[in-house]
């Protein structure tokens, strides 16, 4: 007995093309998914700095970079999380009422 692959449950048809609002919602989610990756890479960036050089890296630079980046990430997350609507079901079916406002 094998388990049916996800997305092939009875009576569940995948919708390939979405109306505009739903499409935009999907992309917001994609952005939320990829954001932690960028956050990770950028937080690792100080490791590549020239720490040994004579002027070195001043702590004030570290503070400004890390806290600045942190604030930007918080702002982006707040923006996208605010744009995201919860009502639309995860897999496939477009829902009329829950569509996000058009951009």
């Amino acid at each position: 007995m094998t388990v049916p692959p996800a997305g092939t449950e009875p009576g569940r048809a995948r919708v390939e093309y979405l109306e505009r609002g739903t499409y935009r919602q999907r992309r917001y989610r994609d952005a939320l998914r990829i954001l932690p990756l960028f956050a990770t890479v950028l937080f690792f960036l100080p490791l590549f700095w020239q720490w040994d050089g004579l002027p070195g890296v001043r702590p004030s630079i570290v503070i400004i970079y890390l806290f600045g980046l942190w604030l930007v990430l918080i702002g982006l997350t707040a923006l996208i999380s605010w744009l995201i609507r919860f009502e639309e079901p995860e897999s496939g079916r477009p829902s009329g009422a829950a569509g996000a406002p058009e951009e």
Binding site: M1, P10, P36, P46, S60, L66, W70, S81, E90
Partner: protein, 894 residues
Amino acid sequence: MISFNLLIVVSLVYVAFLFLVAFAAERRAKRDRGQWLRNPLVYTLSLSIYCTAWTFYGAVGYAARSGFEYLTIYLGPTIVMIGWWLILRKLVRIGKTQRITSVADLISSRFGKSTALGVLVTVLAVVGTTPYIALQLQSVTQSLAVFAAAPGTGWDVTDFDGAAVWIAIGLAVFTLIFGTRNLDVNERHHGVVMAVAVEAVVKLCALVAVGIFVVWGMAGGVGEMLQRIDASAIAEWQPVPHRWVGLIFLSGAALLTLPRMFQVMVVENADEKHLATASWAFPLYVLTMSLFVVPIAVTGMDLLPEGSNPDLFVLTVPLATGNQGLAILSFLGGFSSATSMVIVATIALATMVSNHIIAPVWLSSTQKGAALSGDVRGVIVMSRRISIGVILALGYLYFRLSGGGAALASIGLVSFAGVVQVLPAMIAGIFWRGANRNGAGTGVVIGFAIWAWTLFLPSFGAGAVLSEAVMAEGPFGWGWLRPYALFGIAGLDPVVHTVFWSMLFNTAAVVTLSVLTFPNPMERLQGAQFVNVFENSAGARTWAQSAARAEDLLIMAQRIIGHAEAQEMFRQEAGAQGIDGYLPEVTPELIGRLERMLAGSVGAATAHAMVGQLTGSAAVSVEDLIAVADETAQIVEYSNRLEAKSAEQERTARALREANEKLTAISIQKDAFLSQISHELRTPMTSIRSFSEILREGEVDAEARARFAGIIHQESTRLTRLLDDLLDLSYLENGQVKLDLGQGRLADVLDRAVMAAGVSGDRLVLHRDTSREAVLIETDLERLTQVFINLIANAAKYCDADRPELTIRVLSDSETCQVDFIDNGTPLEADAQVLIFEKFSRLADESKAGGAGLGLAICRQIMESLGGGISYLPGQGGPAFRVTLRQGARMAAQ
């Protein structure tokens, strides 16, 4: 200097205030069912128990020692929160649908409601968290000691180890009151959450106040502060790459796996949408918490004498500058951090211990059916209370035995590294259906063992548990097992070393064993439920048809979740089944729902075992799974059939539409036919009537009489012929004609037809190829002759050539036989080629025709009833008709 007694009074007032807040929140929640507390702000603030006293005091010390590395502890959780859509949302949804009560419950429930896994994770959590609770007690006593050590208080510093007892007891009282009020964890601890939220505000305000004081009050502004930092020892700091990466990973993973974080983030979550707010608000909170850490550290290093404990700069800097109010606020901040962490961690651990250790032991020690007779609710509540006491006692014991001091300071990261051993099982459990119990269990055990050997046991100090020889040489001199350098790799910091090796082997075990071994049906059901939580919100069937009585189930449910709730649930279930009263039919779905309901109180594994006692069946079997799959397959098939049926109905509808159009057309045709036939009958009748009237009046001469009588005769003949034709056609159309099958040569048939048509050589020249006409056929020869006569007569009548010629051509092969009649007149127009076979259609003028226009219609009917056909053959230079004989009508050629 602050009077120490004042400090004690302030603390007690603060504690009383917290009790009041919690009490008010409970009352308020009872009144409006928690609506007021269900807001994202409270949720976000409750998450802040991530920031414990270790971070409140310790972060500054950390910064003084290791520069900006303290930030890793906040950056990891920030990354996880930013990516809330990926992991946290799924965890919260699973927590809700499966009524998960703790990390141990999540793992146990996911891997087939396994009691063993629940116990394993509970033990891991207790071992990993108890030192952390000890650390909180230590931080409070240390901060108290700071005040006491000041001259003029008259207190001896050594007394303060005893203070920890009173703190532990106070915390136990608070937790007992507000932590075990509700048995169903899903009903949430409103009082605790509210108190934690208030404490979150206090500790944030305290740290920010101290920060503002050092930046603007002492340094004189942001620019000056940055210059001071650049000039301080922190300027020499360089990131150690493996620590930077390793600690960010560790803290991010800890956010997901720490029992207390799971408690506030998943279990106490009231609404998934709150995550959207917490995703940015919580990082903002920790950013604010960490913003002033470096300024405070730098100021402390400048201000205080060499050798001062940097862990207490948050307190000692305000004290040294004479800001007593600020110092008290700072103390309350640290106190809040410590108490909120201890309270939530204790509730989380107590839930685990009572659900996964005490309840199963109690269930198996009592007789079968205990779920019915025993005081389940009382047992669970009592076991939870005992657990709270035991855990706090353990924390206190650990604090006393370890002797406080430096050994405890590093315990924060050690604790993190312990609890993240659950991570591989957790992540695999919610994203990979293939992950199974063997893999998860082995992974946790291996990770736990590596953590204990390489970090936990050495953390007690060299020589305490592991001898210095073992630390330096490895056990039995096996160098590759040295705790800080497994496999001889010595370049890693101990914490990162442990995280690296334990995660590697833990994950490898989860993956390898999951790939190689087979899960049981319950694991597979639960796996599908967890991984596809967003697709199917309905619960899976985890019970086979059982013999349990609804009454028994109700009795058990009442004992666990309370009378009113249980009765309400059963009444609703019965209502849904269309039954009045409180006893619904016992279906597998009902049992499944009941079990999830109970799981909210006692955990999935225990709930499963309890229901199992009543239903007597060993839950779901492979056969049941197959039955479910069959049902699914049937549903799929049914839906396919429905689809096919709807397509068929569409086809039928189309056919009906076409039939309707045809009927309408036929009806019009019929009307046309009737008017036509009246006309055809009326014309000769008119002649007959008028001439017969003339004859009746008798005033005509003999010659005229003879002529009139001739006309009358002629017209009545025409009438008779018309009626004969109509009758003939009617018979043919109704299929009533009787065929007189016989054999004959085609040539003979044609000869007879030519003769009967009465065409003379000068009127119509015939071209025939007699050699090709030597074909033996089997059909109704008379009828065929009639068709041929008609065609030949038509050619004679209508051919408009100067010298009319008719070619009769026979085409035959082994299968078919066709006879073409081609004359040299004017070919028919395209629309006429179709029309010519219709009744009463005449192309030429009427006088010439002398017939009613039924000839070709009759021919067509005859040929159709003979199984062949007649059609107009275009492109032959003149009107041409092809008569096709039925297949098989042709016999062997002679």
